[in-house]
Point group: C3
Amino acid sequence: MNIFPLVAVGVSTLNSSNDLLDVRYHLILNEDQELLNTLNIDNPGFNSLYSMASGEENNEFFESISNTLSVTSRQKLIFHKIDKDVPISNICDAYLKLYLLSLKVSKPNSINLENIFGSLANVAWTNLGPVDVKDLNLFRSRNGEVFVRSVDKFPCLTDYIIPEGVRIADSSRVRLGAHLSEGTTVMHEGFVNFNAGTLGSAMIEGRISAGVIIGKNSDLGGGCSTMGTLSGGNEVKISVGEDCLLGANSGLGIPLGNRCILEAGLYLTGGSKVEILNSKNEMIETVKASTLSGKDDLLFIRNSLTGAIQCKPNGKSVVLNETLHKND
Amino acid sequence: MNIFPLVAVGVSTLNSSNDLLDVRYHLILNEDQELLNTLNIDNPGFNSLYSMASGEENNEFFESISNTLSVTSRQKLIFHKIDKDVPISNICDAYLKLYLLSLKVSKPNSINLENIFGSLANVAWTNLGPVDVKDLNLFRSRNGEVFVRSVDKFPCLTDYIIPEGVRIADSSRVRLGAHLSEGTTVMHEGFVNFNAGTLGSAMIEGRISAGVIIGKNSDLGGGCSTMGTLSGGNEVKISVGEDCLLGANSGLGIPLGNRCILEAGLYLTGGSKVEILNSKNEMIETVKASTLSGKDDLLFIRNSLTGAIQCKPNGKSVVLNETLHKND
Amino acid sequence: MNIFPLVAVGVSTLNSSNDLLDVRYHLILNEDQELLNTLNIDNPGFNSLYSMASGEENNEFFESISNTLSVTSRQKLIFHKIDKDVPISNICDAYLKLYLLSLKVSKPNSINLENIFGSLANVAWTNLGPVDVKDLNLFRSRNGEVFVRSVDKFPCLTDYIIPEGVRIADSSRVRLGAHLSEGTTVMHEGFVNFNAGTLGSAMIEGRISAGVIIGKNSDLGGGCSTMGTLSGGNEVKISVGEDCLLGANSGLGIPLGNRCILEAGLYLTGGSKVEILNSKNEMIETVKASTLSGKDDLLFIRNSLTGAIQCKPNGKSVVLNETLHKND
């Protein structure tokens, strides 16, 4: 689905040199044609960093929006347009694409995020909002103690948007750009990177790396790992199908189909050799794990006597505990 | 020990529709018979959600308690009585039982917590107290930036009670309802769920799941996992005896006796087959791990040449580093 | 390099009994001889806990420094001198040595930290600064809601100093006393204890225990463990050379040389027996892992069919993703 061109309204916090530190978007304007006309977005000059030139501060229209969005003196109102889904070229692009992911307008891996690291500023995220690391001492001397939650290019999701029907036990561990579906619980040991997330109810006590998608009704056990593609050299996008269970402290290096189980403590990489057993526990053949990518109904264990990684048909089905997922 | 009936005084924060978001209890009143008479708790109507009806705000007695507890305009004074240890029926029950666990009046698994998920509200826990997720935008526009630590049904222990002689390196990772004994240190990678905890000095760098109890002088290494009973299908309550060591990144799926060691990186599930060796390293038999539940003086390793999980008599004793545990 | 004697200026927050809770140092004064003369540091009485006696509050010189450092009414200006690198004898020593480590004046394991646990106070670290756990209720009744990030002897690095060119995704997980070099990114699952850190660019998604040093251009995968020497009984200091990769959920119990790889999910302890293979995958001998300490170009895996830990020559080189490390 092509969602571009698209215009959004947001508020950016500035550092002491008036550089943008972030953009907190509030509205997508594609529907409001009257407003789009007012903004004159068809003017080829519109897609600049932000359209609110200093002369416009007296404009009644902008002023009323600024009031609604509670724009403070260290902030600026932003109107930003993305015409086409090309690589990210500035911080307004970057935050808008992260916002679209967390708003669930876009699915992970469906929009172009190239150059996102180069477009984001490294910011001290505090209880008083984003602060440039260089400004922090000055900021503290003016505002008293400041709590620094993070020094990072990406902010936490909950500072920007809290999706409905979701629990996030430690909000430091979910980045803006995470795609969390209703009924998702991210426990304390869970983690969700940007451009990653869940497609339905899910219990997340492990780490969802950038680019990784988890199907509905799946359960990632405490401390489990999913291989990402940003670092580590892995080139295959990892995903988990529906009704799957990754045991505690396990790890996944191939895409899984539906109704698969990975035993607690087992790290399955794409290159692992795996013994294939039939339902009578007879060994049939030995294959590389990557050849099992995307197949349904598999149970992966390490035989506790021979040490071999084995794969057999999965008879059990995973049932999420419903009371844990009614997040209202 | 039957501690009920029991009356407690607390303060609840309300959302914009006057629903209770939490209850921060301050006192257990069982001893103070005069006060109990004043409250008329034998009146069968007492055990309602909260006794302070609107007309009572001018009551001098309630007013003085409100002042002592610094009750603000978005809060309400609560007197709550639990008659018998039956399933939880409302948020006041739920917070009182969590409080009793963290106050160490009740041990984990000793009180009825049925229906706790259904009785708790999903709340945004902020540096300005609990806020209904639906009220957050309004709350921000009134109070400026707000730091959201968590969006969850359970709050952090340290917002309610800080047990004596305890260190908690990252307070986001210990829920109200955790039972932490003096001399317990929960490091950054440690985690303690509600209805779980320690019975004496302990070094916790791994995860204590709901229902799991750790004996005194035991050490849970970094990132280790203990299987819980809330999700994952395990039905046996896991526990760790005294003087035990769970190595870093290990995992435990059976109850352990005293003086047991689980090697770093080894995940022992109840169904794992285990080779039993004698003190001369001779193999005696092969058993399911669950048959070793609760036995003392065992060392579990994975043989690094054969890949087999093995169990032998544990000669070494675990000694906690005392300087790390004097938490004064 | 001997950096002592050395004088530093800082600010300490006090509890309600006027005990020091911490010291936030701002300047090392060794260069400023004029100031040192003013302070009369050669006076044998100087090295007391702090030099600013009550009578000196009217001293113009001290007052101007107090203003610069925004010393509040619950704080005190501190001048502290360490003459020689002997065991820590008080909280001013302790914080100064932690500061020197994080300022990268001292490398981990290069200064005497004996008695540091006994010298530090267990403090509630809040968004309004350090508070004595015993004062917390009083403090809350005066200041309203207070966010407690941690109850610990060590504070978070970012409350004291933010090194240049560093990202720390969850600041709760890096203690003051961590030594983070430019180009280091500590992700959400990363952790860095005091007296530990990196010597160059590094991607840290695992745990750097006290005493552990990571060489430049190395990558610690999500949830990986490095054995520390504080607890657990290990006596060998663990380190990681340059251009190394520790896979996700792996663990390291020996010092590694350069260009080594530890497979995801593999825990290598010093006592593990390891099969040595040549570049043709032929088994040569079996050795204890500790005999491989510090050797370069090794790849450690667990054979997924035999369960044996194996070591072979490492052909691949690890290349950090540069865009993730430009932390400006």
